[in-house]
Symmetry: C2
């Protein structure tokens, strides 16, 4: 039963025709007679012939494999982004190697090395928290492998990028909070290495300015994605002489920790502080007293568009391709009635 798998040669030998004829017949090459095609295809079926991708890849000098690097898969946001990308890739005949950096620069470097050894035809990456230096990524660019940043992009690199329109999201959130009477609005933001942080900040600041609310930099705190730091950032805000009455957070995860912190440590105001995050995490529906709102992003579309852009770069390599910056809208979703 488990003898070697059938190859084109086997088919050719059995049918006493040449391998190249078989190859063409299987792929419906116009130069092959209908009768021959039929015979070949029939036998191929009988032998459970499946073309050896390894050989094709080798021959074509193309791996038909794309790499996608994300910080982790515990975040539904990234999972959805991967799915959008993967679906698009599969539909176009590509495999996808999914890699998690776990927010480690070291690991990210190793992954890129593996991906390079695997001769991926293209790469989509959301850089790790630690990725301030991008030499390892630029190596890919030098090797001529198309790259698309997505979700997170280093602030000083001008490359193709697909991400949420977090700027508009922030201004919308601020506008909504102002409409509910808030004048002291806090921001818990993430690494300033990323454009996605800077854009949230700019949206927040411009949102305030649009409503003639003075910008107060003590109301802006930085955190990462650890519960510890999220709690600390929340405390710093709440211990201000004039604490905020509403907080916009970089992500729902951060918002949930802030929510928890308020409940445990600032119980007296916990219910009056209104919170908005990014992501519209589906788990929020299970909370008894949900936060105010979240900016619902479209990670699936982000993944899809990254794939579209990447394949375009692969199929139409142009030296001076102007860096594309694609922004996918996000929308305020209000939880409390």
């Amino acid at each position: 039963m488990d003898h070697k798998r059938a190859t084109i040669k086997d088919i050719a030998a059995t049918l006493r025709i040449s391998p190249s004829t078989v190859s063409k017949a299987l792929r419906d090459h116009p130069n092959i007679g209908v009768v021959t095609k039929e015979r070949v295809k029939k036998l191929a079926q009988q032998l459970h012939f499946v073309p050896n991708q390894a050989a094709i890849r080798f021959k074509q000098q193309k791996s038909f494999t794309l790499g996608i690097v994300i910080p982790n898969m515990l975040d539904h946001f990234y999972v959805a982004a991967v799915e959008g990308f993967e679906r698009f890739a599969y539909d176009n005949g590509y495999n996808v190697l999914i890699c998690q950096s776990h927010e480690s620069l070291q690991r990210e470097k190793e992954l890129l090395c593996t991906l390079q050894a695997n001769r991926v035809d293209g790469l989509v990456i959301a850089i790790s928290r630690e990725t301030a230096d991008t030499t390892h990524i630029n190596e890919f660019v030098h090797a001529g492998i198309p790259i698309v940043y997505f979700i997170r992009k280093p602030i000083n690199e001008e490359y193709h990028c697909v991400c949420s329109d977090v700027y508009k999201g922030a201004t919308d959130a601020v506008a909504y909070l102002v409409s509910r009477g808030h004048l002291r609005i806090g921001l818990i933001n993430a690494s300033s290495f990323w454009t996605t942080s800077r854009d949230r900040f700019l949206g927040y600041r411009d949102g305030l300015i649009q409503h003639q609310i003075p910008f107060d930099k003590s109301l802006v705190q930085e955190s990462d994605f650890t519960q510890e730091h999220n709690f600390q950032a929340t405390r710093r805000l709440m211990q201000l002489p004039n604490p905020p009455t509403a907080i916009l957070s970089f992500k729902d995860q951060v918002m949930l920790d802030a929510h928890n912190c308020l409940r445990r440590e600032f119980a007296s105001n916990a219910d009056t502080i209104e919170l908005i995050g990014y992501g519209a995490n589906p788990m929020i529906q299970y909370l008894e007293r949900p936060p105010l709102a979240s900016l619902k992003e479209q990670p699936y579309e982000i993944g899809q568009k990254s794939g579209l852009l990447l394949l375009d770069l692969i199929n139409h390599p142009q030296p001076g391709y102007e860096p594309q910056l694609i922004k996918v809208p996000c929308e305020l979703q209000v939880f409390t009635a």
Copy 2:
């Protein structure tokens, strides 16, 4: 910059030695002189030489790639299992193709076909909800590709399998509920195709018997993972003439829906009904009134052990390998103080 990548031939030509010498030198073959090795390695570095895995795979007739098929990645449990598997695979020089069936048999078949075309060296699979027939999987077995079922296994197939010891988990849960005075304990279970459902059921039933509690089959309901059905199953239990005072659920997701259903539709008893699920979902920490407990499983270890077993099967192919059944313990984690 983006000219073709260096190959062994390039190095050989530059150094005016033969490709095979280069090949051996790079892999520290004992037959090569130290001086030559040095020269080769130095130049390889300079040229940023990375061995072409595609060629190696082709040559070796091995893909150094493993497949892992799971229902989806939205469930942290599967994500952790994938991670355990992946880490183990990477550490042993294998790549991993992660595939999601999205609980669709059709998609599962397509995925297996792709994996076969990619000549994966082995496969780990948690079958979809719809997978009652396993012909498509048996094809792999016939092709001589090692397979390990994990997490979910069809009830009528005797193959290698790694999963949680859900039987013991269920008896433990029942024992704990009994110790808290419960005599009417419900069970919301999943598809009876799976051993993992049957074992939960057996553990539940035997647990009751051990405590001289009569088994009442109306207390056992089946659901899938949709919120709709989870709500329905909960309603069916609560609308019994003599409803349960505690419910054991197939998964935390099911338990959370039951929790929600109770709160919304049976508010008067919502707080007295004690709930136990499987999975110890980390999001539970954010609930104000968490359920009673959850059986904490060890998905990472399950993934790891699946990898270990799979690699063993790949490296020591034995025709009459006795099917291994590996059970990873799970432990009751109590949330309410």
